[in-house]
Amino acid sequence: MSFKVILPTAFVRHTDGQKQLVSTAANLPGLVSEIDTTFPALATQIKDENGKIRRFINIYVNDEDIRFLGGDTYAFQDGDEVMLIPSIAGGC
């Protein structure tokens, strides 16, 4: 089982320019630990002081906000496309 992780430009300074990663993590906490090992600088950037993903970063799985899928408990599926995107307030 593996899935793709897509990163915004703001993150790639910590990933040697890579905009996509391939992961085999079981869930979101697993993905964060994986990033801790592979790109520690990125992990520092995306985590808050409690080790959780910062509240201004949204995570989407196949276009759906991971919070609607169970958040940390969501089990990544083979072929999932996971996106990390800084939240934008918008304005209609």
Partner: protein
């Protein structure tokens, strides 16, 4: 794509880092939304009641407190919309000092978005963008398209596919490139962040957002000036992204700091549709965060399920002793009709939300009946006539022969029908 100003620059409110002036909306370190910070001492003594009075009758009278690049020559007379004493609506909802800030007649495209777009596009030009754009549920699309046309800049606008036809037409007429996205506003917004990453577009509510948001302050300056340089007791403001309500407060605070108004506590009340009420829920629960929602409401111009300014708006409302409420789609339509019937103002669904929430807050006693309360109406009803479909049977009524006797008989018939008509359900009564 950068410029220097001695008066203002981008600042992260979370970590405090400063970034000069460039097209950037989020802090590269902690990802919090950036805002414009001013050195108010630089304008002290220059921005006075007299200097404002000598300015043009539009938002540019407040240019000294807007992030406008040096040398920019304002062109469009945006803003300075009426502040109306709403005696009739007040009587109906039980308030004696109720005012309507009527941005349903904002120039040029009939919504408060004209204010923010004019400030964003001034910066887009300075940054050298050849194409500007936005993610929008309509009002913003209309304004970007119109003002880009006037400035001779290309526009590319992304909208949710199911938008009201009037809002689509009102964008296409300016020859903007319009892309309908199969998804809701949050999907469109997310795509725009990706597009802004890849294309050299100036998205007014993405990479130009800090500048854009400052345009909202002009609503606050105008309210204070139109009340005779006094602050109201309460503001009732619709919330989508959660930006406008905070910027009105920022405007009031700047006026206090610069000595144009006396300091006094102003309570801020937020209005949302129940079908998309993440900020209202946050306030009601006393949270410092928001839980995202999937929007399902006719108030599409407020349908942001995951607003990044939501936590800050919730915190600010709670800090002022205010509150937030949300109303059903039925109440929204009643609110539209109530404002039209009592004050002759035809607002869109977002204005129905604000009117219905104002009524409810007064009924709950959260807003005192004699307090000076300003309800902020942000858009025009001509853009969302679909919301009223089926509301008026007269539209399908038979035509009357051009004879006096037929006319008289018809009036009698109508009076009979009107007498039997049930009373309009008062907005906010649920």
């Amino acid at each position: 794509m950068e410029y220097f100003s001695s008066v203002y620059e981008l600042k992260c409110n979370e970590c405090g880092k400063r970034f000069g002036n460039r097209p950037l909306s989020g802090c590269p370190d902690c990802f919090a939304p950036l805002e414009i910070a001013y050195d108010l001492e630089q304008v002290r003594g220059k921005f006075t009641r007299e200097s404002v009075a000598a300015g043009p009758h539009n938002i540019w009278r407040y240019a000294a407190l807007l992030p406008i690049p040096e040398g920019f020559q304002p062109d469009l007379p945006v803003g300075f919309t009426p502040l109306l004493r709403a005696r009739n609506l007040g009587k109906r909802v039980g308030a004696t000092n109720l005012y309507i800030k009527n941005d349903a007649v904002c120039f040029p495209t009939l919504s408060f978005k004209d204010r923010v777009v004019s400030v964003a596009l001034a910066n887009a030009q300075k940054f050298g963008f050849e194409t500007v754009g936005c993610s929008s549920t309509g009002n913003l699309a209309n304004s970007v398209a119109a003002q880009a046309a006037r400035l001779g800049i290309k526009a590319c606008i992304l909208i949710p596919a199911d938008l009201e036809p009037a809002k689509i037409l009102n964008t296409l007429v300016y020859n903007a490139r319009l892309v309908r996205i199969d998804g809701n506003y949050d999907h469109v917004n997310r795509l725009c962040t990706l597009v802004a990453d890849e294309y050299s577009y100036g998205f007014v509510n993405v990479n130009l957002r800090p500048y854009y948001a400052e345009g909202s302050k002009t609503v606050g300056y105008e309210i204070a000036e139109q009340l005779g340089w006094k602050l109201p007791d309460n503001i009732v403001c619709p919330m989508a992204g959660g930006s406008l309500i905070r910027k009105i407060r920022k405007a009031f605070n700047e006026l206090i700091t610069l000595g144009l108004v006396e300091d006094k506590p102003v309570r801020f009340f937020g209005a949302q549709a129940t079908g998309c009420s993440p900020i209202s829920q946050s306030v009601k629960q006393g949270w410092d965060y928001i839980e995202p929602q999937k929007p399902n409401t006719i108030a599409r111009s407020l349908a942001i399920g995951n607003p990044a300014d939501g936590p800050a708006a919730s915190k600010m409302i709670q800090g002022t002793g205010g509150w937030a409420e949300d109303v059903s789609d039925v109440e929204i339509v009643s609110g539209i009709q109530e404002l039209a019937e009592t004050e002759g103002i035809f607002t869109e669904t977002a204005g129905g939300v604000t009117t219905a929430v104002t009524a409810r807050l007064i009924q709950q006693g959260r807003i005192g009946k004699d307090e000076v309360t300003v309800a902020v109406i942000t858009g025009n009803g001509l853009k969302t006539t679909d919301a009223l479909a089926g509301r008026f049977t007269h539209l399908d009524s038979r035509a009357v022969r051009p004879r006096l006797s037929d006319f008289a008989a018809y009036l009698e018939e109508l009076d009979g029908a009107t007498n039997q008509k049930p009373e309009l359900e008062p907005a906010g009564a649920y």
